[in-house]
Amino acid sequence: MTLVLDRERARPGVAARNGRARTWLRPVAAVLVTACFFLPLYLVLANVFKPGDEIVRSPAALPFPPTLDNLTAVLTRTDHLFWFGLINSVEITAISITVLTVLSAMLGHYLARAAGPLPKIALAVLLCGLMVPPAVIMTPITEVLRTLGLMTSVAGVVLSNVGYYVPFGVFVFTGFVKTIPVELEEAAALDGAGRFRTFWQVIFPLLRPASASVLIFLGTWIWNDFLNPLIILGPASGTTVTVGVYRAIGEHQSDYGAVFAFMFLASIPILVFYLAFQKHFVKGLTGGASKG
């Protein structure tokens, strides 16, 4: 214990010796670099709250006094593009990530526990799927969905998401299940619990960190997806909010106030989601980074 404390004390000592005079340098550099990086986002944020003529006149100025006109214009559009899109986005994202978490946790559990060559082959085939670019399978998927009668429907987008992201879920869950001792399941089985009960009451709660990573990553990817909803939902009114942003630029080429307000509103849900789960986000990435 004393050893550890000594080490911790040694580190700031070294740092202080090397640059006592320049301790202000790092925070100042860090803030400047971050500010440059943030500039494009600032320009959007500031201009959402400015009237159109002011955006053209002084795009970089702070919005003063701020106006909510751009936002209300998007929210009160007569075609309800934003609201229809929001409903579709929430439906598609919520259903997809719920189904994906359940399915890939179960499949990951199976692949981590089952013996023999077949599960190994299945895992390899699944992981190849991580590399398939969506553009490659877009046309055949529309054929499959047309056969099932699911083109231009939310269910069609959900189904294509589920198939496409199962490999990612399995990738996360398989590794995680392996860290859970088999003995736990055996004990539950000895106590008379069936396969499903053992999984749902013993294993699934232990998988919470893995489930958090899967939910968060897939949540953002599916919310932000462009190609699938664009092609599967088609041009019918009310796509997803992400496709809505694309539609909005088509209509108001140069009316940045309206376009930025649409983007701002479309991004708020996913930003709130990210800020709420920020820790798990970093843990999900970190888990991968340390495992290699």
């Binding site: 320009l43 199976y110 553009a135 499959v144 932000n224 991004s267």
Partner: protein, 308 residues
């Protein structure tokens, strides 16, 4: 090694696993996920390869088997060659730039405290935003009379570059925008890697007389190998998939396909040009390239990790 896995334990394994294995376990837990993957990824990939051997086109009455005709056409198609070259350029920029800048930013932000925590969150924000949103932001900044050029004009530059309208620059602009969006991802992964380096190693190296540069080269950099692998693989996948940014920012132009990558050409050939068979041949070539590059990259990167 023998201590952690005594033979008696391995011998007992099959019988101890019995309650978990078996056909019932497969049907209940394995089959649903595998079937969906099969029907919506694997079968479509096979359908795509099969359709690459035909002249499939929704505007034609019937589809004929044409053998390798599509592939022969690809060989002599200048548009495809350009898309291939564009993909290589985009991939190079998207893999190298966020990796290098991300490591720099991570080193800069590798300190405890509220300030550094908040700055990290800022870098990660674009990763969470939709690529459509990021594209629209940069389009507003970079169009000919956009904010960047008005700034340049007021600073006395008479003819600022046409970031998105000059055919010789547009591709680099689009690739840089993707790189900007992915920077935060690399920063976070490198920060995790940096925090995994035990301080003892730095102290030992410092005692042996290594300067800051030496400590980075001989201690930090080798310890970051897994982080480099994750970032590079993630960026490779992102670069190959690049479609949204191109569709929204330049729609493949300016001019004829100057920013069209393979992913973009596949989608436009299939859905705008209706040449599904020809697009499928393109996707098959793309799939082969992705597979080859993924295998090569993983081999190379993981060999680096093992050699530590």
């Amino acid at each position: 090694m023998t201590i952690t896995s005594p033979p008696s334990r391995t011998a007992r394994r099959p019988s101890r696993r019995a309650p978990l294995a078996g056909i019932g376990h497969f049907l209940a837990f394995g089959a649903p996920g595998l079937l969906l993957y099969l029907g919506l990824v694997l079968v479509p990939v096979i359908m795509s390869v099969r359709s690459s051997l035909t002249d499939e086109n929704p505007l034609h009455r019937s589809t004929r088997y044409t053998g390798l005709a599509n592939y022969r056409e690809l060989l002599g198609d200048p548009a495809f060659h350009r898309a291939l070259g564009n993909t290589v350029i985009v991939t190079a920029i998207v893999v190298v730039v966020p990796n290098v800048l991300g490591l720099g930013v991570a080193i800069l932000l590798d300190r405890r405290g509220r300030l550094y925590h908040a700055l990290r969150a800022v870098f990660f924000t674009p990763v969470v935003l939709s690529s459509v949103v990021v594209s629209v932001i940069w389009q507003a900044l970079l169009t000919d009379d956009g904010m960047v050029n008005s700034l340049l004009r007021s600073a006395g530059v008479d003819h600022p570059p046409g970031w998105l309208s000059d055919p010789s620059i547009a591709l680099y602009s689009v690739a840089s925008i993707i790189a900007w969006q992915m920077l935060g991802f690399c920063v976070v992964v490198y920060l995790a890697g940096l925090q995994g380096v035990p301080p003892e190693l730095h102290e030992a190296a410092a005692l042996d007389g290594a300067g800051a540069g030496g400590r980075f080269r001989h201690v930090t950099w080798p310890m970051l190998a897994p982080a480099v692998t994750i970032n590079t693989v993630m960026l490779l996948i992102t670069a190959f998939k690049a479609y949204d940014h191109i569709q929204v920012i330049t729609n493949g132009g300016p001019g004829d396909g100057t920013t069209a990558t393979i992913a973009f050409s596949v989608v436009t050939t299939a859905f705008t040009g209706n040449r599904i068979g020809y697009a499928a041949a393109m996707s098959t070539v793309m799939l082969a390239l992705v597979a080859a590059i993924s295998v090569l990259a993983l081999r190379f990167l993981q060999r680096r990790e093992v050699n530590l």
